[in-house]
Assembly symmetry: C2
Homo-oligomer: 419 residues x 2
């Protein structure tokens, strides 16, 4: 079999994002090793339905290129030094990336190695409100410098940066169409940050980052397909198909929060009517909370305090407060049932700050959801509520950076160049 | 490079359906050649982002196995006989399959060759109403024998049969959960038909068949991702991602007709409330038609005649009749906008018998749809209305059979066995 020339690690330009499904075998093998932590070649061949010979050839290339290494399993370590190790793992030191999450309260960052191990984390508080591009870049650079110092590396040691922003983001195009942290629309944030930091910067929105965090560090280690639904200020969704984040056919899909659940329904902050999030998200609850709590317009509190107060009243038996949460829960059930009827996932992960309001995944809510899923004779999908928080989102941003580094090193454009 | 043993064509058992996205390169190459009709090796390498060397190796294997052949392009034919042909095509005679569509009015069938060319078609009328499994098998066998005779082949010459039934079908599992043409639920139709005919039989539902027909013989020849929405007695959807029909993570998704568009809304024939199809499909219109046309319960006509009459009245200016079509159009717009907001397709194809009612794709309807799609700054996706009819569905059933034959010959299980 002809030997391919060894690709030079980490020195080429990043290629455009890959089609979600047309990954070459080399990349699939690398990603499966990374997800597994450590895995034997024979198991890789089985899981990917390819010949053991192909796995041996490709993993030899990846070891030679410095991306994978042979590791001793626990059993082999016990059994003495007689036989060579059979399992493979990612060579953690091959690359480092940063993940940064911009939010209304604080900006958070992590640095992880090529195997996804956390090297350092950092957060800086901020004054809430929208910023212009220059202020965002200043804040991000300050945070980036601080976390590099904490990790004991220089910025040039990073192979890429993942940057997460809430709102409506065209990740492949690098454009933020709208975000609560940005004062203008259609901002080419990825290009601006890449120019400023001298590093490849990739951007994505909240829900996709949480999904990437699950894919790289959570549920994705054992499952190939699952959905993530997040509720914070808005309602977002991410979907993993065959170990890859699916973004819709043209890169701007999965906007579950803006699917319509009522013709001419409640007003959404996007300007349209009847969006799911106009019944479930913060601002939907706030609209009715003022009525339920008998607040005048002048008494309006911050959203967080108002919702906490509403929740306390509901728990104390206030019927109006309860009915607000009850209705939001029913609409969430409707939205989840639509996810099931369209995507038929095995698992739906609920995440995001508003999940602290347990009405959203109360037994009645899940039972309503089941009642709206087409009766297939199978049990309804599992629903799990996972931890959330800005650090998780920063991890998702780091996963985005790792994904792009991997695609750049192992993707099809590189493969052709190496022939 | 080690030579693989040539796989014996058409003599092995069919393997279970592949994961939609984990296709080996061999299968991807074959499918791309088939979709293109004829294509040069260098173009294949470009489109699939793999090395020309890999394409040359794999296409040589496929030619040797008798699945592909070298063909002379029009330009080469003009230019004389000096150089060998550079383009590849599918060897049409390598396999034949039958596609059969069962419906309420008639059963239709086609036989196509391995390249998808129509060899014969046939239809038999039937008495409307649900049948039991034995009657379905009798009718299908009669039709199968008749079309084989017409094509001048015997049943054993067929490599597989695709069988399309309206209703709720688990295609990978071979089970019809519910169908208007079957008098019982949860019928293992694929296994029963396989046993009866002595041929591998694969089943699927209406919307998926129309989508497969588009994928193999229509839009799929030029597009990698698109949606198909069908309206007949119900509302169905099919979605093609990266040249493959996507069925949901566990094989039972894409039930757009049963996504909920109103909490506690109109009653659907599935027994639940607020399903999209309960506002758009035949029976939804019929419920209101009796009111609009001042019909008593005793005057009830057949659905087809009633809807034709309603349509005539609407065209003649009957305001009540118009409002029925107008509302159905608005709900269809809502459903299509949800498809756009979730899947972000470049093209949505509308198909099915009810598309003759042009209110469903009137300018106002499409404009309402655009108004409910998240504003991304890009134009709304193209909406096209394509031909429909039982023969198209039978073609889709044949495409299903071809897909399964191809997967059985070229899929990963076969690849491993051939090592």
């Amino acid at each position: 079999m002809p030997r391919r020339r060894k690709p030079a690690p980490g020195c080429g330009p990043l290629i455009p994002p890959l089609s979600e499904t047309a990954r070459p075998l080399r990349q699939q093998i690398f990603e499966r090793v990374r997800a597994a932590g450590q895995i034997a070649r024979v198991q890789l061949a089985k899981e990917l339905s390819v010949s053991p010979a192909s796995v041996t050839t490709i993993t030899s290339e990846l070891i030679e290129a410095g991306y994978l290494e042979e590791v001793r399993t626990a059993r082999e370590a016990e059994g003495g030094r007689g036989r060579p190790p059979t399992a493979l793992g990612v060579r953690a030191g091959a690359h480092h990336v940063a993940g940064i999450k911009l939010s209304d309260r604080e900006h958070t960052a992590v640095i992880v190695d090529f195997a996804g191990n956390l090297v350092a984390d950092e957060a800086i508080a901020r004054v809430p409100g929208a910023m212009d591009l220059a202020a965002i870049l200043d804040a991000t650079e300050t945070l980036l410098n601080r976390i590099c110092a904490k990790a004991g590396i220089v910025r040039a040691d990073l192979s890429a940066v993942g940057l997460g922003v809430p709102g409506f983001v065209d990740s492949p195009g690098g454009i933020v169409h709208w975000s609560p942290v940005l004062s203008t629309r259609r901002v080419p944030l990825a290009a601006a940050a890449t120019a400023r930091f001298g590093l490849p910067v990739h951007i994505d929105n909240d829900a996709n980052l949480v999904t990437l965090a699950e894919l790289w560090f959570g549920a994705g280690r054992t499952l190939s397909d699952f959905a993530v639904v997040t509720i914070e200020h808005g309602l977002g969704m991410g979907f993993v198909i065959n170990h890859r984040l699916y973004r819709g056919a043209q890169g701007l899909g999965m906007e579950l929060g803006h699917t319509k659940v009522q013709l001419d329904g409640a007003l959404c902050r996007c300007g349209q009517r009847g969006c799911l999030e106009a019944y479930v998200a913060d601002y939907a609850l706030v609209r009715e909370a003022q009525t339920a709590l008998n607040l005048t317009h002048r008494e309006t509190q911050s959203v967080g305090i108002l919702l906490e107060s509403l929740y306390d009243h509901a728990k104390a038996g206030n019927a109006a407060a309860r009915s607000i949460f009850h209705r939001a829960g029913r609409y969430l059930a409707l939205g989840l049932s639509n996810v099931v009827n369209l995507f038929d996932p095995e698992l739906i992960i609920l995440s995001g700050e508003r999940m602290r309001y347990d009405y959203l995944y109360a037994k009645e809510t899940l039972s309503e959801m089941t009642g709206m899923c087409l009766n297939t004779g199978r049990p309804a999908p599992r629903i799990e509520t996972h931890a959330w928080g800005d650090l998780l989102w920063a991890h998702g941003a780091a996963a985005l950076a790792l994904q792009e580094v991997t695609a750049g090193l192992l993707g099809p454009a590189r493969e052709m160049a190496a022939q």
